[in-house]
Structure formats: C-alpha cells, structure tokens
C-alpha cells in the first residue's frame, strides 16, 4: 500500500503535536505545585488528554484515510499561479516586517504597490495612485476616526 507524501506529512504533524502536548503535560504534572492539589486534573492532565487525542487521531488518519487517499492523484497547479501565490506570501511577510520600522502608513503604501504588481498590474504610476487611494482612507478611518494605535514606526514614533 503506497501512501501519498502529504498524507504521511499530515500524520507526522498530528503525532508531533500530540506528542509535544503530552510531554508538556507530563512536565507540568511532575512540577505540579502541591498547593494546587485540589485541582484534580490540573493544567498538565488536561493537556495530556488533548495530546493523546491527537496521537489517536493521527494514527487513525494514517491507517484509515491512507487507504482511501492512497490512489488519489495530486492536482496539477499552474506555475504562474504558484508564482503569484508565493509573491503574495512574500509581500505579506515583508509588509508585516516593515510595519514596525516604517510605520503603518508608509509600509501600507509600499505593500499595496507591491501586491498590485504581483497581481499583474505592471504600471508603476497606476499602482502608486491606487496604493495612496487605499492606504490613506484606511489610515483616516482606523487611526483618526476609530483611534486605533497602529504602529508609527521608527520615523513617526
């Protein structure tokens, strides 16, 4: 019986999560404060139950779903779309990274510019106009009207 790679990975992740939870539970039980003896289950007991549940589900997934999904073919994804997806993730990553440094407004203008580029808009002028058109109203609504404390960054703190 052949198992798909992703199926094996899913099983491993479930077992890993279950194992880590169970081990954490054991650690908490060993280090339990005697003054909390009235708390029968304790923080450790509960998390052990959850961990064991995850391990059980992981094993069931491996044994039961593996048989069902073993012969399923992987769907083929368009390379251009895959590139776009990775571009969006990278842009989001950079945006979140730079918000604290540049501040919300500047980072947002750059983010919208970049994400429009990733989504296929290749005119820099158009992207900048649209970026400003989206960023500034969002800034006014959330920061000025709703008093939300969005990061000012190193320049505006």
């Amino acid at each position: 019986m052949r198992y798909r790679k992703t199926h094996l990975l899913e099983t491993v992740l479930l077992l890993l999560m279950g194992g880590i939870s169970a081990l954490e539970g054991v650690r908490l039980i060993i280090r339990k404060d005697p003054q909390t003896a009235h708390d029968v289950l304790g923080p450790g007991g509960y998390i052990i139950l959850v961990g064991l549940g995850l391990i059980g589900v992981g094993m069931s997934h491996f044994l039961v779903n593996g048989r069902k999904e073993g012969n399923k073919k992987e769907t083929v994804v368009n390379k251009e779309m895959r590139k776009q997806l990775l571009g969006i993730i990278l842009t989001l990553f950079l945006y979140i990274f730079f918000i604290d440094i540049l501040g919300y407004l500047c980072a947002s203008i750059l983010f919208f510019c970049m994400i429009l580029w990733v989504l296929g808009f290749r005119s820099l002028r158009f992207n900048l106009i649209l970026s400003f058109s989206i960023s500034i109203p969002l800034y006014i609504i959330f920061v000025r009207w709703l008093n939300m404390a969005l990061p000012g960054g190193l320049l505006f703190s």
Partner: protein
C-alpha cells in the same frame, strides 16, 4: 402600559438619534473584522458621560446588537467573519455568493436577525426576569455537559472525513491551551517566548484562516472574480424563503436560552443553530454548498443571544460577556444598580431601553435591506482589486484586538495553514470551534472535578440530561453520516 410608555419615550428625537447612531456604529463595527463590540464600547464609554443616562445606554445597546447584523456582511461576501459569531455564516453564505446569490444571503441574514431580535425583545419584555433565575442553576457541571454536547457539532462540521474533523477540532483545542493557565498561572506550550504567554487571540486566527487563507487559495486557483455573470434576485422566493424563515425561528429558539447563560458566547449559539439545521434538514449533505438555512439560522441565533444577554444583566446584574460587562459598567457609572430594584425604582428607564430595542431592530432592518444590492455587487469586483483591500483590512483586523504585531504574524501563519487545509480538504470550522470551546470546556471540567469528582456529572439533573442528549445526538449523527451515500459526501467542497 410600562412597555407602551417606554416605546413612546424611546421615540423622542434625542433617544431615536442615539439609537440610530448606536445601530450605525454597531453595523460598521460588525462589518470590520477585528473590531469587536467590546473594544468599541470601551472607546465610547467615556464619551457617554456627556449624554443623559437613558440615551447613552440606548446607544451602547444599539451598538452591541447592531454588530450582530453587520458581522454577516463580510462573512457572506468575502468569507471573512466580521465577528466570531459569524463564522458559521461563512460556510454557506460565501458559497451562495459564489453562485450569484449574495443578495439573497444578505437579505435572509438581515431579516433573520430582525426576527430573532424582535422575538428576543418580546421575550425580554414579558418573561425575561423570570427566565433569568434559571440561568443561576447552571454551575460548572452543567456548563461542562452543555459544552460536551456542543462538541458533537464536530461531527456535522467534519464534512468528508470524521477523522479529519476531529483532528482539526483537537488542534484547535490544543492551540487554545497555549499561554498561561488561568487556574494556576503556569505557562503551557509557550517555549519560553513572552509573546506566546498571552496565547493566541481568536481574531487573528479567524482572520488568518478565513481571510488570508481564502485569498491565497483563490490566487493559486486563478480566481478572477468571486462571481461572474448576472446577479440573481436580491430576495429569496417561494420554498427557499419559507425554509429561510423557518430556520430563523429555529435559530432564535436555540440562541435565546443560551444567551441567558453567563459566559455563553454568541459564537457557540450560532454554531449550535447551524448544527441543528443540518440535523433537521432532509438534505444535510447540501450544507456547505450554499443553502439558505445555513445562513438564516446562525444569524438569527447570534442576534437572539445578544438580546437575551440583557436579561441577566439588567435583572440580576450578571453580564453574560465582555460587551455586556461594559454596558453594566455604564449603568453603574450613572448610579443605577442592576437587579429587581432597577425594575422597581427606574421603571421608565428600563422600559425605554427595552422599547428602544424594538425600534433599533426596525432601524437595523431599514439600514441593511436597501444596501443589500450594493453589497452584493462587491462579488463582481475583480479579485485583483479586491484582494489587496481585503488583505489590508485583515492586517488591521489582526492587529487591533491587542495592538501587537505578534498577532499579525499569527494571522499570516494561520493564513498559510488555512491555504494548506483548503488544498488538502481539511475542514476549518472544527478548528475554530475547538479553539473557542477549548478554554470554556477546560474551565468547566476542572471546576467540576474540583467540586466533586467524576460523579458530580451524574448527580446533577441538568448535567445528566445534557450528557444523555450528547450520547443520543452522537449516535444519530454517526447514523446520518452512514446513511448519506459516500459519493455525495465526497462531492462536498469545504
């Protein structure tokens, strides 16, 4: 007579204006993901000092139940729940949008909310204080049994695979344990990081899984627009309208009693209403593909819960959630002591607030219905324009609850997880359900065991009734799953 006097007083120009302002703000707050009623109420609370006490409570109350109306809009149109209580609405609401039926989904959400809100206020007017006493009979064992019963919803939310549903549910429960244990103060699964000591907030998780995850999946699939073609009718008709209205009534019956219970969140009642609809439906396999009951019931339930929450708050001084706690704080700021005394000594005030709720529900219907056509057109906007705006709002939504960039990283992480879950057919709703229920479940379980060990669940009548109902419900659910042809289940998209 008291109610009549209250309604007349609520119709005064100033009170009507405050009610309108509260409803509009509430709708806006509900639409924006991340901006919950509690945070907005706390921002507005200092400002209400400048208003008279009746007007300020009317405005705050309008904001609170108004958010339940607004929360459905982004759930239906963009698959981003505006509130946690709108998560079940995404399951069928967004599918309806994909079929060009966004208008019908928004219509039934507004009308269902109106039905639930009005019936809720009626119940509040005539039987409210009496019902509130029953809420006091719920202790930790009863809560545990109720939450255990709620966990059977994992079965109906599992879609194609029960094992996958249970897996994601347990993952949600496990993720909810990250942080500081509320009983003992020890840290769990924090791995020494200060940021994880506060655990994960619900909003970044939901925004990531639904909002960012949906954008990433659509980007890979090359989706041009949410819906291409001519939009369907804005209002459901015939048999579909009848089913939607019936589901609204059932959702109200589920949401109202749950709203009386302290600590019971609106999200739970909307999940339970969705689950009930699936169980009573002749075609449960169609849930998740765009059935109107899947929108009507949870929306009615969360609105009924919101209205019902005022009963224990005003009659007993027990707020059922953070938003009502803030409204209670406002009452106490004005020197009004909640409880039976409030009903006796401030009769006009109480009935004016109740009267304003009737008016508020009408105002919300008037506000929301004409905008249905406009909102529905959002589904025709090309994704290349819509996606950046959605992502920008998701980032703000993730940041806003706790003002920390860690939550934004969490949202991104869950967004990537949501993408993979969609790709590999792992259901997302059970993860959210587990994440919401996990802390409540643990709290009830540990308190109950401290009170009297395992036998306590068998010694309390409400608890044992609910546990028996759980066993019965689980048996029925598993039998239903076996009855539905496997091919039909596998055709269901998550």
């Amino acid at each position: 007579m008291d109610l009549f006097a209250g309604v007349v007083n609520a119709l005064s120009f100033s009170n009507l204006l405050y009610c309108f302002l509260g409803c509009v703000l509430g709708t806006l707050v509900g639409v924006l993901p991340g901006l919950g009623p509690a945070s907005t109420l706390s921002i507005l609370l200092p400002l209400t000092v400048y208003l008279d006490h009746t007007g300020s409570i009317i405005m705050l109350a309008g904001l609170y139940y108004g958010t339940m109306y607004g929360g459905s809009t982004t759930s239906i149109l963009l698959n981003i729940p505006g509130e946690a209580a709108s998560v079940p609405t995404c399951l069928d609401g967004f599918q309806m949008t994909r079929q060009g039926r966004a208008g019908q989904a928004l219509w039934i959400a507004a009308v269902g909310s109106f039905i639930a809100g009005t019936l809720g206020v009626l119940a509040m007017s005539f039987i409210g204080p009496g019902l509130a006493k029953y809420a006091l009979k719920f202790g930790p064992p009863e809560y545990f049994a109720l939450l255990f019963f709620s966990l059977t919803m994992l079965v109906s939310l599992s879609g194609t695979s029960l094992i996958k549903g249970m897996g994601t549910g347990l993952v949600g429960i496990c993720l909810a344990t990250i942080g500081v244990d509320p009983f003992t103060g020890v840290t769990r699964l924090t791995f020494g990081m200060i940021e994880t000591m506060r655990g994960f907030d619900l909003v970044p998780v939901v925004v990531g899984l639904f909002g960012i995850g949906e954008i990433l999946s659509s980007a890979e699939e090359g989706v041009g627009q949410i819906y291409k073609g001519k939009l369907g009718k804005m209002m459901p008709r015939g048999a579909e309208l009848k089913m939607g209205l019936k589901a609204s009534f059932r959702g109200t019956l589920v949401g109202f009693p749950l709203g009386l219970l302290p600590g019971m969140i609106a999200a739970l009642s909307s999940f339970m209403a969705y689950d009930l609809e699936k169980r009573v439906s002749k075609h449960p396999e169609r849930f998740g593909t765009g059935v109107i009951e899947g929108v009507a019931a949870p929306e009615a339930a969360n609105n009924a819960t919101a209205q019902a929450g005022f009963i224990p708050m005003m009659a007993l001084g027990i707020p059922t959630g953070p938003s009502l706690a803030i409204i209670l704080a406002a009452l106490m700021m004005y020197g009004l002591q909640p409880g039976p005394v409030l009903f006796q000594q401030n009769t006009l005030f109480v009935w004016t607030v109740i009267g304003s709720m009737y008016i508020g529900n009408v105002l919300l219907l008037i506000l929301n219905l004409p905008l249905v056509g406009l909102w529905a057109r959002i589904s025709l906007i090309p994704y290349r324009f819509l996606a950046p705006i959605i992502l920008g709002i998701c980032i703000i939504g993730a940041y806003s609850p706790r003002n920390t960039m860690f939550d934004v990283w969490v949202a991104l992480g869950f967004g990537i997880l949501g993408y993979f879950m969609r790709k590999k057919d792992w259901p997302i709703a059970p993860l959210i359900l587990g994440f919401i229920l996990g802390p409540l479940f643990e709290q009830a379980l540990r308190q109950s065991l401290t009170m009297g060990g395992l036998t306590i669940f068998l010694m309390r009548p409400i608890s044992i009734t609910l546990l028996l109902l759980t066993v019965f419900s689980l048996t029925l659910s598993i039998r239903y799953l076996k009855r539905i042809p496997k091919g039909t289940l596998e055709d269901e998209k998550p």
